[in-house]
Symmetry: C2
Subunit: 91 residues, 2 copies
């Protein structure tokens, strides 16, 4: 649990809200039997939006959480958890 | 517009519904100030789920839409649109 404030927290929440809405709209497109390439284009757009959101979270994490971890003497735990997260992200 | 039935249409709709719910849950995690690596892991999981959904759509597209396009003499348009979609997907 990490309750300190992130600069882009509100932006991240807003981006995830847009991704949620976009996914709902694409679900509707599929239910209506819309053309596959159109659906694939929309899924690629959602994936791109997710990647940009992950970048913003990572920016906050490096700018704020790293400083916090170093101050608390927790930089080894910080690096381990960050590495695990990046290993999942970058395949 | 392409209104013919896809074998996995219901599965694709269900997967997108799960991705929508997962995104909503991650949005809540961020709003609660949860640890960045935990959030990044969840975003990576959503991206993986999107990729698997895209693969399922592509499978339907190749199995059903290609046959339909060939029967209708529209295979050139089919290939052009598929190529455009894949170009967006594979960066």
């Amino acid at each position: 649990m990490d309750s300190h404030v992130h600069t882009h927290q509100k932006q991240v929440v807003n981006r995830l809200a847009r991704i949620e809405g976009h996914t709902r709209a694409v679900k509707q497109m599929v239910a209506e039997g819309r053309d596959c390439p159109e659906v694939l284009l929309q899924i690629a757009a959602i994936r791109k939006a997710l990647d940009n959101t992950a970048k913003l979270i990572l920016k906050d994490h490096l700018e704020h959480c790293l400083v916090h971890a170093v101050n608390e003497g927790e930089h080894e735990e910080f690096m381990g958890k960050l590495q695990a997260a990046l290993n999942h992200y970058i395949r």
